[in-house]
């Protein structure tokens, strides 16, 4: 079973993503802040990460950079969830390494399609 890590400080968003993705037979792991997200990513080496940008302590861009510069994790696809806010704009500037950007409020079916695209490509 493919492992997906969902990192977002909004529990409702995490829960709805988890519900749908589990329906598609993915094993979902959840973290509700950046610190836990990064720890969990290193612990379980997921097959894909859905990562929110604005989070307390460590933001999504930073996590993405940390993982993408690590040879052990750099191949994990990262779907970055953004709210297109000004605070986010201020954080950009360096390469984040994310593979895909999803704008809030996103469409669940679209997310599923994107996830399938990356995970199918990987298994090939």
């Amino acid at each position: 079973m493919k492992k997906i890590l969902i990192v977002d400080d909004e529990q409702d968003i995490v829960e709805s993503l988890k519900f749908v993705l589990e329906n598609y037979n993915y094993a979902c792991y959840c973290a509700y802040n950046g610190e836990d997200g990064l720890k969990l990513a290193r612990e379980i080496s997921p097959d894909l990460i859905i990562l929110d940008v604005m989070m307390p302590r460590i933001n999504g861009y930073k996590i993405s950079r940390l993982l993408k510069f690590d040879t052990k994790y750099k191949n994990i696809p990262i779907l970055m969830v953004t709210a297109r806010s000004q605070e986010e704009d201020k954080l950009i500037g360096e390469e984040t390494g994310a593979d895909e950007y999803i704008t809030k409020p996103f469409d669940l079916d679209e997310v599923v399609k994107t996830v399938q695209k990356y995970l199918a490509a990987e298994s090939n």
């Binding site: 909004e10 409702d12 968003i13 829960e15 709805s16 993503l17 519900f19 749908v20 329906n23 604005m54 709210a83 297109r84 806010s85 000004q86 605070e87 986010e88 704009d89 809030k104 409020p105 996103f106 469409d107 669940l108 079916d109």
Partner: protein, 573 residues
Amino acid sequence: MGNILLITENDLIHSRYKKLFEVYEYHYKVCSDTVSLYDFLENAAVDVIIVDNSITSINSVLTIKKIKNKIENVQILLLMDEENQCDIELSRLCNGFISGAFSDELIISVINSHIKNKEKSDIITEKNKELADSLYKLNVLYNTSSQFAGTLDVKKLINYMLEGLDKSLSYDLTCTISFGFENEPVLIINSLYDISEELANALKLRSVLNYKSLFKDGDIPFEIDDKNLKVVKYIKNPMNKFTFDIFEYDNMFAPIDLGDNFFGCIEIFKEKSFTTDDASYFQTIVQQVSLPLKSAGLYNEIISKNEKLEKLERVKSDFISIVSHELRTPLTPIKNALSILSSGRCGDLTENAVKFVNMAKRNVENLTNIINDILDINKIEAGKMDFKYKPMDMHSVIETVRANFDCVAKEHNIILTTQEQAQLPEVYADSQRLGQVLTNLVSNAIKFTPNGKNITIKSELKNAADIDKNPYFRDYLDTLNGNYVVVSVIDEGIGIKEENLLKAFDKFTQIESSLYRKVGGTGLGLPIAKQLIEAHNGKIWCDSEENKGSSFHFAIPVSSESVSGKTIQKELL
């Protein structure tokens, strides 16, 4: 009356002239050698010098030259004997000659006429000096005026005034109360010599009293108190000290004001007496600084208002951005929940449940679009919208948009077709933004077109001259020049009243607001489209006939004629 010096070593001459001088009551002195001569010249006033040509103990030419340098306008008379030969250089240095053969009367008349010459020359010299002085002061005045005109900085203006006064009046001390800096009154003491704490306090008290005396019967514009008045001291020469004698010095005082505007006051002290000219220079300079001080005040007011406005604009922009972000986050789980419900993963829904879930989904979609529009217009207005310009093909944009609307058009039973000119040249543009504009135009067209009617997306290459311009947009479109790819969205909807055509692109203007309410939308779609198209150096406009339909067009310059993306972005900023 006159002061006469006789230079001779001849006793006969000495005794003859001595008698003569005594009879005619001249002050006189006789010298026979250089030592006594220079001793005498050190302190004495001399009008006429009579030099005996036959003297041998003194070098006459050298001596006369020295004397002339020392005493301005002194008259030199050369005393000659008939057999004396006069040196040419010597004769040039002299103002007149006396011969030993002259009668006493003749000698006296020659001396008298030269005393008069000396008096007149002195007067002329004096007047010349006054003139030179006036000229200098006028120059100072002129320079000070130029400096006043060159700045709107209150501190600089006050400094220029004090510099100007120093140069023209060479004051010993000035006390200036100014209200211009940092919104608090300041006493500026400019002093030639150092002043003690006690003297500074006395000057402060005096300045405050002077200031208050200006408003004996009226309201004081600024309340000041000698206890908390801030003092700034500038000392030119700290090696010396002024004493309380400064209050015995001559002084002048003036307010610095213009009409009802009051900027401060100044008192100026000088050991020597001020002349009437000095008084008028003082008045002129102090008055001249008032006008730029007034302008400076107004200027500062404008600056601070501008800063406030800019801050307000930033706050507004930040506010919109934060609110939009905060709205997006809760919208996401709502959307997700609805999507899960309608997917049937939580069990089958009743017919009514499907209806209401769809209603909620539709409205979430609307809300999302509204937030996106507000964010976009906010970004554009703040100059923060990024464009990714590259050469692109308009066909692909049109095809993508048409495909996206296929389903919606079918739902509304609307026939959506494209009519594209083959082989359109490339345009230099951001395909995503053009897609956004076209999406907006098509979705508007669908909103206003009844079921069963047609909507056409048309593209063609046109020269600016061949573009049809209705009278409402003629001026706007007249600036087009060269070749353009023109994209039109033509509907068979309700159309727009002529008088509303121009308003269609205004921010927050809703044509027939009730109608818009029925179909939803922020009224920001077209203003955003206009901004996006204009960022591409293009134009957007519309034609319409009521109840027959509207056509919205936008023109984008073909690649070779469009400017580089960087330039466009700069213009947008």
